[in-house]
Amino acid sequence: MTALDRGRPARNAGQRPAVPIKLLYFAWLRARIGCAEEEIDLSPDVRDVAGLLDWLRSRGGGYAEALRDLSVVRVAVNQDYVGREHPLREGDEVAIFPPVTGG
């Protein structure tokens, strides 16, 4: 069993098929979670960004710590900023990161 397998939500037999997406983490979120990117099969009952963040937090450990305060968490889907209600689709690239500090 790989680290990725352990992170996969259980498939929900008879429901919508699981939705594969790619997750990217940056800055202190990456450091706390302990990985820069991973691919997961989204459980069919996770439909939007808010649901994904809740599910990630439920994995505990570094995920729960990194996502404890969602007011400092930004999300981009396919390289555009999105709100928590944004729906997730197969093949989406979902990036999760703190407020940006460039310039």
């Binding site: 940056f26 981009a76 390289q79 990161f97 703190p98 407020p99 940006v100 460039g102």
Partner: protein, 151 residues
Amino acid sequence: MIRVQREDFDVGAELERLAAGNHRIGGVASFIGLVRDMGGSDRVSALTLEHYPGMTEKKLAEIETEAHRRWPLDAVLVIHRYGKLDPGDRIVLVATASPHRESALVACNFLIDWLKTDAPFWKSEETPAGERWVASRAEDEAATRRWSSQP
């Protein structure tokens, strides 16, 4: 033009190239961001910039397009570095060229304000107390928001 790179840049050469051959241009404005040696009350010995390749270029290109939409600009240049930098090193160059100074100056200000809150870069500082991520500033958010009510 947008460039995201690890290497340093030559400010004089970049500004010269921006206006070269276009005699409609009457003014070039520029902003250069440098690495400070202090973060709050702590001495900073190095700064590391992380970014999101792909989204960084996309957001910077969108900001450039928006600047062209708002002001009559002949040229726009944004160069932003990533990787490990020392105090005094250049981080970013924003330059704008237009027939008259006002558009160039205002657009340059707009570009750096937007870049700071929209482009996915993150700074991490090395201090005597260890490495720490720079927190975003409410003033930067406010600086960007004021442009949403202007042309």
